[in-house]
Symmetry: C2
Subunit: 172 residues, 2 copies
Amino acid sequence: MEDLKKYINEIIDFPKDGIVFKDINPIYKEPKRWNEIMLPLQKLISTTKPDYIAGIESRGFISASALSFKHEIGFVPIRKPNKLPGKVIGVNYKLEYGEDRLEIQQNSIEKDSKVIVVDDLLATGGSASAAGKLIREAGGNLIGYAFLVELTELGGRNKLDSNLFVESIIKY
Amino acid sequence: MEDLKKYINEIIDFPKDGIVFKDINPIYKEPKRWNEIMLPLQKLISTTKPDYIAGIESRGFISASALSFKHEIGFVPIRKPNKLPGKVIGVNYKLEYGEDRLEIQQNSIEKDSKVIVVDDLLATGGSASAAGKLIREAGGNLIGYAFLVELTELGGRNKLDSNLFVESIIKY
């Protein structure tokens, strides 16, 4: 998968100084490339047979929805605060400075159903870990995580339950 | 398509007083239902053969990405300000109170390529109209719009170029 890195643009000092942003949008605009990079996740879905794929707003919606629709699996959105209507469950999590929060709709998934959390990027693991808690609080059976890109030196993987699979395609 | 309305939850006074929010998340979590509601858009794509589908952040990412990936068409994100890295093109548009802005990455689409803008909901048409301008400023050939839900009494359709197709599946 090393050669797929050439399709990822590195943007210096975005969204703030000192960060090198991995821009994976160039992958989505070329369908063959996109399908190729997603093959390991498609295989993972075929073997683990989740009932739902949960996507984290908003970049995570892209891959999670794509996989769900093509493979005929339910898609469930995990969103930033006050975006989901009706009754929601929320989890706060720490950022480098301050705190953030993710929410899921109550009754969005069947009890004990198998759920995979999908996002574009695994960095510090804060949002992924919070998303996993939300799935469990909503009654789901969290079976694993899948990411397009992993920034391994940030150690996000260590924040996630070691009993679950954590799949990432392109590692930095 | 009238019977599909039973899968849409109406949430009173969300996100603010006086608004009845159409919650279409229940559609996504049932793959058969989701595929059924998307059939007209899938047919539209098969007949119009766009080169790209542009999705408007963040709910529009869900349908746009789903359609793109399954039908092997390029997906291009249109996002809120300061979310897209690198060089961007922006368009401001009016809201009921105040103003908002959408952006697209420069060089995100090939010149004169055929593009459809997809969003979950057509309301006043402000964001859809802005998205269309972005496609043209980015060099694309905007051929039409597709929405899951249209709130017809808000007249959003009238804000969109009458030479283009404007497809919506469930009309209120």
